[in-house]
């Protein structure tokens, strides 16, 4: 399981763009293109390298009707999947 204390950020080979609350990602190395739904797109937007997984989950709780526990589990899983696809990278928060 991905640590909730890491900060996700776009992978250098990934390009993303929001359109009508959804995100379209292009993975340059493979040429793969994918669409993220509204919550997935929101997590992608928030994964800018300044927030931890926990921070992102807290913002998701504020914006969507979901429990803190559920949000954290979902964000962890989603970020893990995007890391596996090389759409995101993760690194420890500065100072930790």
């Amino acid at each position: 399981m991905l640590s909730p204390d890491v900060c996700p950020a776009p992978h250098p080979q990934a390009a993303g763009r929001m359109i009508d609350n959804e995100a379209v990602l292009v993975l340059a190395d493979s040429g793969q293109v994918m669409v993220l739904n509204e919550t997935g797109g929101r997590i992608w937007e928030l994964a800018d390298g300044t927030r931890t997984v926990t921070d992102i989950a807290r913002m998701i709780v504020e914006e969507y009707e979901v429990s803190e526990e559920q949000a954290l589990a979902d964000v962890q899983e989603f970020v893990y999947q995007l890391v596996e696809k090389q759409a995101l990278i993760v690194f420890p928060k500065e100072g930790q």
Partner: protein, 272 residues
């Protein structure tokens, strides 16, 4: 040195070829797109080495790799290599074997135009294009989705291409431009013309004709997937997406389910 100038989608390339026979064949090949009096945006020196080392009848796969760094496009294949400096407007193409020169020049030009279009706000798309009543319709999808079939069924109209087209904005609205590059229908016309883009259709083979509107994100993803060469670079992919977002905003993208008869035009016309 023999010079052949062609202009595609308003971008002129002067090919300076060191072989008169190759130059003549190139001139014939791109005759609808010749632009001898146009100031070139690019000057490309084409050097042909060797003549008969490879039989033109020998089946070969022309594998091409490209990269783009610091505004310099690099092109490599088993039959030659080339570069193009976008800032200088200068490039070179070195062809190792005469029989493969035609393919090599064609691929080099496809790649050059693909990358350069993004730089100037356009995009080269794997798509078929038809002009009907002075309005352009673009049909796209991966290989096998039906681009050539749609083209065959639209020969009574102006066919721009069955394979590749350029879309770029002119005075704020997107226009579709014909290109000389060939697809599956080798003898299909490739009109050197342009028309305002009014319809974009993702193709799906089906048993009946119908259209469905795609969500903007889905439309964007489908379009970007059909931009060859350029989305293998993250920064360029970002630019392609920016262009395609504008495109999707201006011209709604629909999914065209069609069977093999020209009745799909009635469905399209009913949407207009």
């Amino acid at each position: 040195m023999d010079e052949v100038r062609i202009s595609v989608a308003g971008v002129c390339v002067a090919l300076r070829i060191n072989d008169a026979e190759v130059a003549e064949r190139t001139r014939a090949r791109y005759r609808e797109f010749l632009a001898p009096d146009t100031t070139p945006d690019f000057v490309i020196d084409v050097a042909v080495h060797g003549r008969e080392e490879v039989s033109p009848l020998m089946p070969r796969i022309l594998e091409v790799t490209t990269s783009f760094h610091d505004d310099i496009l690099t092109f490599e294949s088993s039959f030659g290599e080339g570069k193009a400096d976008f800032d200088a407007g200068y490039g070179m193409l070195s062809a190792a074997h005469l029989p493969m020169v035609r393919l090599l020049i064609e691929n080099y030009l496809r790649i050059l135009y693909a990358w350069y279009m993004v730089r100037i706000g356009g995009v080269l798309l794997h798509s078929a294009g038809v002009v009907k009543d002075k309005r352009a319709y673009l049909f796209f999808g991966p290989s096998g989705s039906g681009k050539s079939t749609i083209t065959r069924l639209s020969m009574e109209h102006v066919v721009l291409s069955d394979d590749i087209l350029i879309v770029r904005p002119v005075n704020g609205s997107f226009q579709v431009f014909g290109v000389p590059f060939r697809g599956e229908l080798v003898y299909a016309p490739r009109a050197n013309t342009r028309a305002p883009l009014v319809g974009i259709f993702r193709l799906r083979k089906a048993k009946e004709h119908r259209v469905e509107l795609l969500s903007p994100a889905r439309a964007l993803a489908e379009l970007v997937s059909c931009a060859p060469f350029v989305i293998t670079d993250a920064a360029m992919a970002q630019r392609v997406m920016k262009i395609c977002v504008e495109l999707v905003r201006q011209v709604p993208v629909k999914e065209l389910h069609f069977r093999k008869d020209s009745g799909f035009w009635r469905v399209i016309d009913a949407q207009s």
